[in-house]
Point group: C2
Chain length 329, copies 2
Amino acid sequence: MDNKLRRSADGIDKGYVVGVDLGGTNLRLALADGHGEVLARWSTRTVGIKAPDEIVKLISAGVDGLAAQTGLGRHDLLAVGVGAPGVTNAETGVVIATSYLMGWRDVPLRALLESALGLPVSVDNDVNVAALGESRTGLARDIRDFVFLAIGSGVGAGIVLNGRIFQGAGWTAGEIGYMLLPGLPEEAIERGRPGALEGFVGGEGIRARWKSLWDETKTTLPMDITATEIFDHASAGETLADAVLYDSARTLAYAIYNMALILNCPLFVLGGGVGMHPALCARTRKILEARGTRAVPKLVISALGEEAQLIGAIRLAMDTAIAHGAVRL
Amino acid sequence: MDNKLRRSADGIDKGYVVGVDLGGTNLRLALADGHGEVLARWSTRTVGIKAPDEIVKLISAGVDGLAAQTGLGRHDLLAVGVGAPGVTNAETGVVIATSYLMGWRDVPLRALLESALGLPVSVDNDVNVAALGESRTGLARDIRDFVFLAIGSGVGAGIVLNGRIFQGAGWTAGEIGYMLLPGLPEEAIERGRPGALEGFVGGEGIRARWKSLWDETKTTLPMDITATEIFDHASAGETLADAVLYDSARTLAYAIYNMALILNCPLFVLGGGVGMHPALCARTRKILEARGTRAVPKLVISALGEEAQLIGAIRLAMDTAIAHGAVRL
């Protein structure tokens, strides 16, 4: 089967869009032209800000800030696309649940923003939005089936099947943090707590594992270092760090292997601050290839990097503009 | 999200179709009217018959036999749908690979049959065809996302997403026999050999496990019994049989749990001679429900049973007839 899509549309004929990357720490906006070219950026901190109407005010301020920077008015804007940090009904734009940081439950973010901005808005889960970015402008461009793995403090997957984000019946497809794998504890985990897989593959889990294994007779490194620092030291040959990297890579390789079997998916794109570490990718690839009697998926590090979500949000806005009558180029 | 589809079309306006269930042991055909109602059946043994042209001759003889039974001619037939026991390119109708029993590699079954029968033919993998049957007339009728699990001597999954069979980039989506799970050996397995999961969940594997655990001090049952016999004895309280059932159910529950996480899929339909055993379903459901802090999928035994593939093949033929100009009711 040909796993390439026909070339995606390159943009819209006129007008501008805004992409919004909403996180528990930062809010980032970008204004782009009809080709998705970024013309201006705006950002602010969101630490401690939980109320949906406060977030809506910040986004409105950001849209006005972008308009001011570019000399555009709101009437030049066609649509807004938002990546939200939680389970999201992409049809209605309701954020069903976010992590404890924001604590949202059933927040009608699309309706709130459309009312505040007077513009068409689309909202989807941030990992899905990043996957959209990868499928339109990244290394997965025009690839029909692939998985984007966002590995930061936790782990999530954005699944693209037949060229479209696959959302699942309850909008939680790709919530792989709870996947059961050899070497992971089998106990059921309370809702809202990180899954066992995240204990080995997520940044917070890796940091905690390092702490639990740390012993001054085993390493000269400090007890409190980050996942990426651990991977740096592993690359430099530090024994304990290398053991932690190996466990992370093995667990990640097994998760990818299972997804590749079920979905028969030929490409996995690694994103997020932890996921993009070259040592993790190289080691994971080696473990996957050692299973090589069956088709092993290709593993690449995202070329969009920290921009994947913002770029995806711009693409979501472009799709929304087209759905509202803008002409596809 | 509403996980129901709008009601499927109920059939085609006139004419008849033939469904073909091709296996390594039996070849079964059925002739149905435009509503999918079976009017006649024909079957023969295929043990030892490997050559594609011999299979094509048998299918042709079956079609003629069905026509004779019903007093119809070939001109009354609109299309033929075939479920083939191997990886199949459903677009071209080429059977890419079957198990060692038939040993097929890249057999253009659709082209061979169209040439022999002078009728439009579609060919797909037998588990996918059974899933199609379940989605049109079984317990998954009109359910948008579900997984059909065929558990006989081996294990395979037919995945229906957004109301359509999901095939995967290389036509092998749902080949879950190699899934990595807690309690299963991690070693890579040679291509063509059964996966570790099948050692616990497939009929042959369960039988072999019973033999390896059997000891006359532990059980009064014979050493050589089938998987369903083991499950019968487990239901009756036999200790060793119950231990074997538990291991099968646990492995199956974990496989379903992982698929449900990745696909966010709310329904799993158990089919196949081993998969339809009520004790396996009940125990698997119990293990799944014990993980109950997250959404647990519904688990049901196929109502179509051994007919799933043949009924699916009839539905595939009806779709093919519509694609070739028959009018949908």
